[in-house]
């Protein structure tokens, strides 16, 4: 897999050859010794001890990638490039497998060494799984999710998406089309135990928000500057392509007049599109699928005059983005979820490595 990438092939080929040569030599030494002994040489035999030392050092080096990538160390240039560390991490990890296997003498030993061996196997397997995922998923993300954003910012971006769509609908369908979010209602302390107190607080917040909406509506009509800032220029995501790469870029769209069929757009937005943008695919099955969503918006366009189509196009684009964010979140789990196994087990492995070395030398 590492050799499939044409750009990385040559460097990985060097590592592959190096690892194969070392593994071959190790097997030859082990075999040479094994034919002279009645059973498979274990950790106390000269080759077993040598392979154990090498395997232990490799495990420590593998583990060093974690601090290497920490924010305190990653800027140290003396340590070399992280890319090189990662390549060494992968290939030395694979090289350690035959060394450790021969070190064991093909026996599990006590449950301390058995636990150690099982952890090692799990770490290796999770690492290989991660390697495969790291090869497959980014390509999927690149091709299937042009609107990819930073994973941790997906909720934040979705909120902004909702705000942008609300602004557009307000501008295109009138101020009353979408109520302004009520931060006061949201700010009601959820820890208030008395339900009457909570109800009173929510009612007060809603009343305050209604007053604020009324003032805002008056300002909207009277103050064109507010209109210009919130509704005239809309930030709309659009897919752009540069060479082989594509991605979502923000572009500004002007919306200064009400569209015809605003009532229909307003109703559909409130009932179907907005819940989808707010909660994602679980909220609307039709908009969850690209094909069905396209049919849905095509149908909407046929019911509206052409001057409304750019609004429908913008809504369709946001729904598409929301769908991609959802897919990205799921892929992200596959892409990085293995780390939740690989890293903790690696730390446990290193701790047990020291214990194994101590007890093995004590009773070898």
């Amino acid at each position: 897999m590492l050799l499939l990438d044409p750009q990385q092939r040559r460097r990985n080929l060097r590592w592959l050859i190096g690892c194969l040569v070392i593994t071959g030599c190790a097997i030859a030494v082990y075999g040479w010794y094994a034919v002279r002994t009645p059973r498979w040489p274990g950790g106390s035999s000269p080759p077993g001890l040598l392979f154990g030392i090498l395997g232990g050092l490799i495990i420590l080096f593998e583990f060093a990638l974690w601090p290497r990538k920490s924010k305190y160390v990653r800027a140290w240039r003396l340590l070399g490039r992280t890319q090189h560390w990662m390549r060494a991490h992968i290939w030395l990890g694979l090289l350690s497998v035959p060394l450790v296997l021969m070190h064991t003498g093909f026996l599990w030993g006590g449950w301390l060494s058995t636990t150690f061996a099982v952890l090692y196997i799990l770490v290796i397997l999770s690492g290989i799984y991660g390697l495969v995922m790291q090869y497959i998923i980014p390509r999927m993300l690149l091709h299937q999710i042009p609107a990819e954003t930073i994973y941790s910012q997906i909720p934040h971006v979705c909120e902004m998406l909702l705000e942008d769509s609300d602004d557009l609908i307000r501008a295109a369908c009138g101020w009353d089309a979408v109520p302004v979010a009520h931060p006061a209602a949201a700010a009601v302390d959820p820890t208030i135990a008395d339900i009457n107190e909570r109800a009173a607080a929510i009612a007060a917040a809603a009343e305050a928000a209604a007053e604020r909406d009324a003032v805002a509506a008056a300002n909207f009509r009277a103050d064109s500057s507010y209109f210009s800032q919130t509704s005239m220029f809309q930030l709309v995501g659009a897919v752009r392509k540069v060479g082989r790469f594509q991605g979502m870029s923000l572009q500004t769209q002007v919306q200064d007049v009400r569209i015809t069929g605003a009532q229909l757009v307003n109703e559909i937005y409130r009932e179907k599109i907005r819940p989808f943008l707010e909660h994602g695919p679980p909220a609307n099955e039709v908009l969850s699928h690209a094909d069905r969503a396209r049919e849905f918006f095509d149908d909407l366009r046929t019911r509206l005059s052409p001057d409304s189509h750019h609004v429908v196009a913008a809504l369709e684009g946001w729904c598409s983005q929301r769908r991609e964010f959802h897919l990205q979140a799921r892929l992200q789990w596959w892409l990085h979820g293995w780390l939740a196994v690989h890293l903790p087990l690696s730390i446990a492995l290193v701790i047990l490595l020291f214990a194994h070395v101590f007890f093995a030398l004590k009773y070898w």
Binding site: T37, K71, G110, H156, H336, A340, P344, I347, A355, W364
Partner: protein, 551 residues
Amino acid sequence: MVNDVKRPTSKQRVSRIPLNYHTRPDGFRRTRNRITVVAAVLAIGLVAAIAVSREWHNAGVSPGPVARVHMAWAQKCSVCHESFSPIHEDARLTSSKLGGADSVASIETKCRDCHRTSQHHPHQIAKMEGSCTSCHIEHRGEEVSLTETGDRTCTQCHSQVDRFVDSQFREDLPQDSVSITSFPFQHPEFRSQASDPTKLKFNHQLHLSPGIKISDERRAAWTLADVSADVRARYRRPKAEGEAQDQSDEKSDDMTVVQLDCRDCHVSLADKTAGVGAGADASLIDFKNLPRNQPPLETGAYMLPVKYADHCQGCHPLAVDRPAQGDPQGKSAGHANEIPHGVQGVALRQLLLGQYREQQIDEQPKQKTSRSRIRPLPGESPNRPARPADAAAEQRLRQIETHVREVVCKKCHESGALTEPNAPITVEPVNMPAVWLQKSHFNHRAHRSVKDCQECHDARSSTKTSDVLIEGIAKCRECHTPVTSSRASTSSTATSESAGSVIKAGADFRCVECHRYHRGDLSVFDPEAAHVHGKTERPAAASQEETRASE
């Protein structure tokens, strides 16, 4: 109006996502960190438990339970182990380089505190002998025998044994023994079979023929009536199903020809306790004082020794038909006396002389007083120069001795060489091996599924005593060999075709199945070797009980 409106700047667009987002861990990272902490704590807790708790320590560090014989020290690692000092044989090279050459020797000392050990073979290079732990691997479980070692413990040396033999003995090595890799494929023929040292005349084919008579022989067939009445019943065969047997039949049965089979002479203690075969009462065998190199009979693994009194006397009584004068070959029948088996030399001469005197007295009662003349006077040798009155008796005694030697003893034995013309009769020791394969164990009981002894001992075609009636290694290899697909299919076919047929191949063929390591130069039954292997005592009574119980 539109011209007054400001477009969002690039900075405003970029600021939609905070630039320091990476400094704040997301939910996934937080979860991962929590799991990492939990894993680290668990690992540290595990190590701490092993370090603090003795039970956890023993269970965690020990690669497995010790053998049952060492179970008393299962919780005391220090009885065998010294901290940071290698115990394994294969650590010898490493440890010597690390300056701990004596560490492996320390475990040897600890083993010898309880176990008497000895070298494998006096001809080997002593320094090349492995330590105890090179063969006896501990911590493999309670039920695992420490002596059940793999073939490679033996073949690592025996596959190129000349490297391990002292140079002065290297030339004496048999060529077929230089490289032994496995019993089925590369193992020399059994050396014990090279020759038969037995000094006895016995024809197996004759004795297994109906009527103890070869078909073209002229003499009459041997019938039950020819067998001593005391043991006749032993050779009477049960009648076929449906045929009633009563007292009147017994007389008519006496004319039945004798048909011996193997078990009339060769039985194990297990057979005997089961009521099979003939022979002395097994309870009379003194198991604690068996001769040197005698196999352990009490297990039923080996056949009880063949004895004249038990197995021969019924048909071959030592009757001395004293010949008439001038007929040393005894062709003319005379008065019969019996002489006991095993008496020879001067004692036999005295016995024959006594019998002759008694006969004379019986025949000439008047000369009774003359008996005192032949008694030696006090202080006189019985071999004193013959007096004139004894000359006739002397001559007659020589005739009788000649008859006994030539007719009675030589029937079965080879007499010793006569150094003097009138030397007394001596019989060479029979020298029959108590067990043929001295360097290995064999268990007849384990092979009881082989119903016909003829499968391994071709006695029916053996006419000479010198015939060694063990088929050899090829016969053993029919069963003691790995199961291959072709053999498996053959055996399964054979089994399906004839019920009760013995399945070939697949029987154990490890070295330790037959051989022992310590004092490999001695017979496995030698008390010295047996002592090393912990078989110094013969619990006769207990073993007999066990044998009976197992039957």
